[in-house]
Amino acid sequence: MADTVKFDKGDIKMVAHRGLSGIETENTALAFVAAGNRSYFGIETDVHVTSDGKLVIIHDDSTGRVANESLSVEGSTLEELKALKLRDREDGAERNDIRLPELDDYIKICKRYGKVCVLEIKNLFERDRLKDVIGIIIERDYLKNVIFISFHLQNLLILREETPKDTRLQFLCGEISDETIKILADNRIDIDIHYPTLLSHQEYMPKFREKGLKVNCWTCDDPSDALKLKALGVDFITSNILE
């Protein structure tokens, strides 16, 4: 039976990457529920804007990796995208029962299972689209249980302006400059760092700590590396399979 890989995580908060994508097709209701039924602190996912301005959950800019038909996400309507049958993670067979979720589907599942949403804003969003994201989460009364993450600092700075001051934000990064660290600190934005980069730049940790930044790292599936990250004192580990 497919199961997660356990390790001695101590106080580290584990985040299921794209849902429990080591077991179920990534970023689907199946993957979110699989994570929901385990000890994860949070469930990570990715949101895109469709051509008709709706919010859909998928990692890539196109559907080719998860469906038999390759559609541009930003170039397709939500209806077109939701009509696609996604492939099973194990045998690659098209399945009737897994489709691309909407943002609201994801929030609903996280809320039902009491998990923190770790929501990646995939591309550079316009302010109004970010307001749409916030609106959907507020509609479910779940904003306090969301960590917004993004590679685009602009998204996070706009979210900082548009949400209550205690909203949690994390900047996705690899190598990072002292200047960026300062700006993150000044704007109460934490770190979500590529974990091999952190292991090879361990000098970052005292800098993060000096600024009071929490540290998440992506995406570690190796238990021995996870233990190294634990020894470094990271706060979160995002993983496809480690629990």
């Binding site: 602190f41 039902r112 306090k144 949690r168 700006i183």
Partner: protein, 270 residues
């Protein structure tokens, strides 16, 4: 709470950063994140900084190779000799038009990189080469292989073929003013010249052209890239003189060097 479907949302943390499995015991101080030191950068100033990061990221993304570019690059590198566009198209699972687009992009990347290696288009093939400007730096290490290995007669014959191709043997001899059988054979053996059908002239003589290897040796993409010279008009042999014997024709308006060598008459070119 985790692992149950009917989790009570009232159990969710006041501060989601506290606790380890979505069910924290106590909230942390909200000021623990991002302790500020010195002058604070926020608002428009922070957004400007974010925009500069965005531009930098865009530039970096442009530098990343696509999967097709990576495959094509690996194929040409591993081959060590010119790889035809047909093979590249098969490798990247596309048509030739798309393959040319991918390869031209790669050529441009290597050019802009200004490193020691360039990707060169030779006719309809691609090959990795060292940058020509570095030849003198490399010469001491590759002394033996940097010479052309061609005699004056061979160079002269190559030049005639190059600027008049496709050309018959008689045409070559007309320009050079001397029998060129031997030197032509040596050039074919070296892969610098090849046959390219037959002329419609009487006797249907064989036509000769330069090869992609010749272009490669000269470091040009096509014959059009060579320096321009005054066109030499070659008179085709008369009907009663099919593929006319050499030695009787004289070159006109053409610098032919200082005469015949043993190679011209079939001797060694080395």
């Amino acid at each position: 709470m985790s692992g149950t479907i009917d989790a009570n949302l009232n159990e969710m943390p006041a501060d989601i950063y506290a606790g380890g499995d979505g069910n924290p015991e106590s909230p942390e101080n909200e000021n623990d994140t991002a302790a500020v030191s010195g002058e604070t950068i926020s608002g428009d100033e922070a957004l400007k900084f974010a925009e500069s990061l965005e531009r930098e990221a865009t530039e970096n993304a442009r530098e990343r190779l696509s999967e097709q570019e990576a495959i094509a690059e690996a194929l040409v590198f591993a081959s060590g000799e010119p790889v035809k566009i047909d093979s590249i198209a098969i490798a990247i699972n596309s048509d030739k038009k798309e393959a040319y687009k991918v390869m031209d992009g790669l050529v441009d990347r290597y050019r802009r990189r200004a490193g020691g290696i360039i990707l060169r288009k030779i006719d309809k093939s691609y090959l990795f080469c060292t940058r020509p400007e570095l030849t003198e730096n490399l010469r001491p290490f590759f002394e033996r292989s940097t010479g052309s290995g061609l005699t004056r007669a061979a160079m002269e014959t190559l030049a005639v073929i190059c600027y008049n191709q496709p050309v018959t043997r008689a045409g070559i001899e007309y320009v050079r003013g001397i029998n060129s059988d031997g030197v032509l054979i040596r050039l074919i053996e070296k892969g610098l010249v090849e046959e390219a059908g037959r002329s419609d002239a009487p006797g249907r003589p064989i036509l000769y052209v330069t090869t992609p290897k010749f272009l490669q040796a000269l470091g040009v993409e096509s014959i059009k890239d060579l320096p321009k010279v005054e066109k030499v008009i070659i008179r085709e042999p008369k009907a009663d003189q099919p593929d006319a014997p050499a030695g009787e024709n004289k070159a006109e308006d053409t610098k032919t060097g200082d005469g015949a060598t043993s190679e011209d008459n079939g001797g060694s070119a080395e």
